[in-house]
């Protein structure tokens, strides 16, 4: 019996990963970008081959009037007649932390024709992970693996965790993450904005930047229900009976829009990007937006 479950899970991983790589593969432009990044990026916490904030010596350059007196490296300048400024290499943490919400509400699909939100989130993230590993970056699943990995094997492990991992909310609320990390959080963000505010502040404290990938089921946005309808929550809880669901539509849509705006505002205030993706659209569009957001950030 246990073997049967394993096999099923295995099939699930393979399917999602296949979809994810497919979504990634159909983005030749992105691939080109990935190549470009790969050409300039070394592995791990690495110099960016330009001067910037860091601890490793990068170069000396001639002092310019705007540099001010304190910037002069006197030791070097003493060896010649000219004034030099010491620059350090800009170092950045290039691990990308992925997290996919595994809560019950993510296990929702309004019809047979759209995937569950969790699956779509996993597909998008696997696609991004594939692109990132191609570019030499390291990826890790937040709360489920401490060691960032890269290469085909790393992608394999990451994909498995994204597809099957619990996606516990605890990983977000108490993230084990190094400073300046980059984060991709995929969820439906249905919890109240205040809750997310609190969660995000932890990342801000670590000076992490990232992207919020908001997965939306078409039914959640359009509210196509009408007539006598009993709405049940995805988690345990009370249900709501509406005699005429269409009458609630307007109110619901207003609230939904407000929620979305609040979320966007939250992201903007923290310097994060928000990517909203409907599950009835192809995953590629989400991957494209995600990657752009990550590339811009870098």
């Amino acid at each position: 019996m246990a073997r049967g479950v394993d096999r099923h899970k295995e099939a699930q991983v393979v399917k999602l990963r296949h979809e994810g790589e497919e979504a990634a593969a159909s983005l030749p432009a992105l691939l080109a970008e990935a190549e470009r990044i790969a050409a300039t990026v070394a592995q791990g916490v690495h110099g960016r081959r330009r001067s910037g904030v860091g601890e490793t010596f990068w170069q000396y350059r001639h002092h310019r009037p705007e540099d001010g007196r304190a910037a002069i490296d006197w030791r070097q300048s003493a060896r010649s007649d000219q004034l030099f400024v010491r620059q350090n290499e800009w170092e950045a943490a290039n691990t990308i932390w992925l997290w996919r919400d595994g809560s019950a509400s993510m296990r929702f699909a309004s019809s047979k024709h759209v995937p569950q939100k969790a699956d779509r989130a996993a597909v998008c993230q696997i696609a991004v992970a594939a692109l990132l590993t191609q570019g030499g970056e390291r990826v890790s699943v937040l709360g489920e693996s401490a060691v960032p990995r890269t290469g085909a094997l790393g992608l394999e492990r990451t994909s498995r965790r994204l597809a099957l991992g619990p996606g516990a909310m605890g990983s977000v609320e108490a993230p084990h993450i190094s400073r300046y990390g980059r984060v991709v959080l995929a969820s439906d963000f249905l919890d109240p904005i205040e809750t997310w505010h609190a969660r995000m502040s932890r990342f801000t404290a670590q000076e992490c930047q990232g992207v919020l990938l908001r997965i939306v089921d078409p039914a959640e946005e359009d509210f196509p229900y009408s007539g006598r309808t009993r709405f049940e929550p995805a988690e345990a809880g009370d249900s709501l009976l509406f005699g005429r669901a269409e009458e609630a539509r307007k109110t619901y849509r207003t609230r939904w829009r407000e929620h979305g705006e609040a979320l966007a505002e939250l992201a903007r205030s923290r310097g994060w990007a928000l990517v909203t993706h409907r599950t009835d659209r192809p995953a590629t569009s989400a991957v494209l937006a995600l990657y752009r957001a990550l590339a811009r950030e870098a």
Binding site: F231, E247, H259
Partner: protein, 904 residues
């Protein structure tokens, strides 16, 4: 019974239920359908949204109406409505059904049974009692006749069936009279007589008796089911003549007569056609004697029934031939006349030798008298008069003196031809005249006649002369005498006078003559009894004898008529087998007279009361099922095929069959798909295996072309020449099945236009493996298709045909099979297509050799292995090139190169 005009209700109180409908309306309106259930994660956002939850929720009006309609249908159905057309009289008398179930009813029985069952059902519905009587004597004693419930009448009906003997209407009339006098039957009754349409001695009695009980309705079988009787066949020289009888009717009719052998095989079949108004017809069946000997029965095809069968017994088996032993025995049996006759007769019959006394004890069908055995015994003359066949041969004795048993008068002395002292050459035989029984046999040119007896010119009338010499003198003469024949060969039976007995013609002539014989008379003695071995059942099949069968004393056998104790069939006494047939010889069938006392001849299908409680209830049931579906659909449990809105749902239920199809758009799509890319096409046959193979074959060929040449065809398409335009395709592959349907005129015109316009069609019969079994006959499906297309003369692909070098150099054109010829137009230069053939016709099943599956692997094995598959692909590529480039490769420019490559 409540009635509104012609509409009445058998249970009117049920209509009171209609009063409850308004209450039902309120009830149904107040009961809302179960809510749909939906899981909705952002439930938090939905809390406290406005809703008129408190107002009572209504079922949609159309659903309420639908449910009320169901209720109304059920109520009306339970009230048992009856629609009585004004013309129908309400029958309330008990009914008496009389059914003819003799042999003559066998064909019409199922119809009669159906009518009787309908009558019984009607009586049952009205609670009337029923009596059922049948006319044919049964094996068991009949049950007493009385009015009883419909159920017992049904039991009687199911146990009644047609019998292979005659109906006895007089006996039934007596039984009915007995029943009336015993008060088991009391009038007035509604009497229906389901008759077989034939008159007999009892018809008038029965009609009279029935008329005393009430009005009599007589129903006759329709012309197609009227009884037929086969008479005893009559022998002719060619075969036999069969007479079929029917009760004379105005309509002409055609039936098939089949002669069946002992093993049930059909030996011959001939159509017999009744003219309008005629009650009898004859048909001649031509059969060689040895086949005729094997006939066991004659039947009217597709007409089950004992009367339509004529069993032949052994009377028709191999006629027994008696050879009268010669008086003078010269001690050289192998040179005697009798030896030649016996040898000639043995293959087709059973010759017995013996002196006259011994032979006549068991009279044979044929007596052969050679010159040495001549006798003018009176018994021979009697034998002929009673139907025997006497074959005589001339000789010195007959030449010296004639006698009475001769077809013609003879001149004394005879005639000598040839020889040392004679100027005349030996004569040869002339060709047989068209009237002669020997017509059609080739006269043997090598047989010469040296001597013969000569007929007196006056007596040898042309009808008596069956064969002549070249100079016109008769060689074989014959005369009908009494019921028999006398046939005289004017030469000896041995080779003394002529070469005829040495030729192959002699036994064939004798065989023709023996065809006149009627077979041996039944030779068993008159003592003993015939006992039945196989009985004929009412359906005309041989079966085990019924228990009622009794042996028939031999002396009365010929007078016996069939009855339960003497059922028709094959009877055996010792080794002899004799047939007792249902219908005696020369039995005329007469239609039932129209002036039977009190009888009304009526059709059955008049207006009848219509009862429609069942359709109403069934409709209600179907609507209830629909209602469940609708309820489930409203509750979101199932997804209805039609839209979510109520009106659309209701409309779709009624309008579903009338969905308009966007024909024009479809046609446009087809044209675009076919024209925007280079594609091959195949013609679907309707057999999915063949069609898939054709598609896969063209797919494989397209792949190979893409790989090896500059041509990159798209996915192949199926085209139906009956409906689709063909002009877009350079090449069409057409697998031809044996039972291919004929093309419509439109399709044929389209194909011809396609060929004229430069198209190429590959007709593939795909049967090279079994083509040899056709033995040179053309493929039937191909014939059907090519018949309607204008195809010029064909020839096999010559060794310098463009197809052999349009891409690859090829000299064979295999597919899955190889070796059978491949045909193209013989002289394409004459065509307007620049010298290219429009058709390629073969049987190699190329599609199988080309076919690949989705993964590009070959789908079907090929006879000659991979090499042959490669050659098949090359041929396909050549054909495709040919289709696109036409005669380009016929250009002389390439000849030197090709010669150079061929040179090694």
């Amino acid at each position: 019974m409540l009635s509104f005009g012609p509409l009445s209700f058998a249970a009117p109180w049920a209509l009171a239920g209609l009063l409850t409908l308004p209450a039902l309306w309120l009830l149904l309106r107040a009961t809302p359908p179960a809510p749909k259930r939906a899981v909705f994660p952002p439930l938090r956002l939905l809390r406290d949204a406005p809703d008129d939850n408190e107002t009572p929720h209504h079922a949609p009006w159309w659903l309420v109406l639908f449910r009320l309609l169901i209720a109304a249908l059920i109520i009306i159905g339970l009230a048992r409505p009856v629609w009585t057309p004004p013309a129908v009289e309400i029958e309330d008398r008990p009914i008496l059904i009389v059914m003819d179930n003799g042999w003559a009813s066998a064909t019409a029985w199922s119809e009669m049974e159906r009518l009787a069952a309908r009558l019984i059902d009607e009586a049952d519905r009205d609670g009337r009692s029923v009596a059922l009587a049948v006319t044919a004597p049964a094996v068991d004693a009949p049950l007493p006749l009385r009015l009883d419930s419909a159920d017992s009448a049904r039991r009687l009906l199911s146990s009644a069936g047609p019998q292979p003997w005659f109906a006895d209407r007089t006996a039934l009339a007596e039984r009915i009279e007995d029943a009336v006098s015993g008060d088991a039957l009391t009038g007035p009754l509604a009497v229906t007589w389901l008759s077989n349409g034939l008159d007999d001695s009892g018809a008038r009695d029965l009609a009279g008796t029935l008329n005393d009980l009430g009005s009599v309705r007589v129903i006759e079988p329709d012309a197609g089911r009227a009884p037929l009787a086969i008479d005893a066949p009559e022998a002719t020289t060619e075969g036999l003549r069969v007479t079929v009888r029917r009760a004379a009717a105005d309509l002409p009719m055609s039936v098939d007569i089949v002669a069946l052998g002992q093993d049930g095989r059909a030996l011959a079949r001939a159509p017999a056609i009744f003219d309008g108004g005629s009650g009898t017809t004859s048909v001649d069946i031509a059969l060689p004697l040895d086949l005729r000997n094997r006939i066991a029965s004659l039947r009217v095809d597709a007409r089950p029934g004992a009367g339509s069968v004529r069993l032949l017994g052994d009377r028709w088996q191999r006629p027994r031939v008696g050879l009268i032993e010669a008086n003078a025995d010269d001690g050289q049996p192998l040179l005697s006349d009798l030896h030649y006759v016996e040898s000639a007769i043995t293959p087709v019959s059973v010759p017995y030798r013996g002196d006259l006394d011994a032979l006549l004890e068991e009279p044979p069908a044929v007596l052969v008298m050679v010159d040495d055995a001549r006798s003018d015994d009176e018994r021979i003359s009697d034998f002929v008069l009673e139907g025997g066949l006497l074959i005589r041969f001339a000789g010195p004795r007959l030449a010296a003196r004639g006698d009475d048993l001769l077809p013609v008068d003879l001149r004394q002395g005879g005639r000598l031809l040839g020889g040392a002292l004679n100027w005349e050459e030996p004569q040869r035989m002339a060709a047989f005249g068209a009237q002669s029984p020997f017509a059609g046999l080739p006269a043997d040119a090598s047989a010469t006649i040296d001597s013969q007896v000569l007929a007196e010119p006056g007596s040898a009338t042309p009808d008596r002369v069956w064969a002549r010499l070249e100079d016109g003198t008769p060689l074989v003469t014959a005369q009908r005498r009494g019921r028999g024949w006398i046939v005289l060969f004017h030469v000896t039976a041995g080779p003394t006078w002529s070469d005829l007995p040495l030729s192959g013609l002699f036994p064939r002539m004798l065989e023709r003559v023996l065809g006149l014989a009627e077979g041996g008379e039944v030779s068993a003695s008159l003592s003993g009894a015939w006992s039945i071995s196989q009985a004929l059942d009412a359906g005309g099949q041989l079966a085990n004898a019924p228990v009622s069968a009794r042996p028939i004393p031999a002396e009365t056998f010929s007078q016996t008529r069939v009855s339960p104790s003497a059922p028709p069939g094959l009877y055996r006494l010792g080794a002899a087998v004799q047939a007792l047939n249902t219908v005696p010889a020369d039995f005329a069938l007469a239609p039932l007279p129209r002036d039977l006392p009190g009888a009304i001849f009526a059709g059955f299908d008049g207006p009848r009361p219509l009862r429609f409680e069942t359709p109403l209830l069934v409709a209600a049931l179907i609507m209830m099922i629909l209602d469940v579906l609708i309820a489930l659909g409203l509750a979101g449990r199932i997804r209805l095929p039609f839209g979510a809105t109520a009106a659309a749902g209701a409309a779709a239920v009624f309008l579903m069959p009338a969905m308009p199809v966007a024909d024009a758009q479809e046609a446009d799509a087809y044209v675009l798909e076919a024209a925007l890319d280079l594609r091959f096409a195949y013609v679907p046959t309707g057999d999915s295996v063949i069609d898939n193979r054709s598609r896969a074959g063209l797919t494989g060929l397209s792949q190979q072309l893409t790989r090896r040449s500059a041509m990159e065809p798209g996915t192949p398409m199926a085209v139906n020449p009956e409906t689709d335009e063909l002009i877009f395709f350079p090449m069409i592959y057409w697998p031809v099945e044996r039972d291919a349907a004929e093309l419509s005129e439109e399709a044929a015109a389209r194909i011809t236009a396609y060929l004229q316009g430069g198209g190429l069609i590959i007709f593939d019969t795909q049967d090279a493996d079994v083509a040899a079994l056709r033995a040179g006959a053309p493929h039937p499906g191909l014939i059907t298709i090519l018949d309607s297309i204008d195809i010029p003369p064909l020839a096999q692909i010559s060794s310098d045909h463009v197809l052999t070098r349009s891409f690859y150099l090829l000299q064979e054109f295999p597919g899955r099979f190889s070796g059978s010829p491949v045909w193209v137009e013989a002289n394409p230069d004459g065509a307007s297509r620049d010298g290219t053939s429009g058709v390629i016709i073969g049987a190699h099943d190329w599609a199988s050799a080309w076919a690949v599956d989705e993964n590009g692997r070959p789908m079907a094995p090929v006879d000659g292995g991979e090499r042959q598959r490669e050659l098949a692909q090359r041929f396909g590529i050549n054909v495709a090139m040919y289709a696109l480039t036409g005669n380009y490769k016929a250009d002389q420019v390439h000849i030197p190169d090709i010669l150079e490559r061929l040179g090694q």
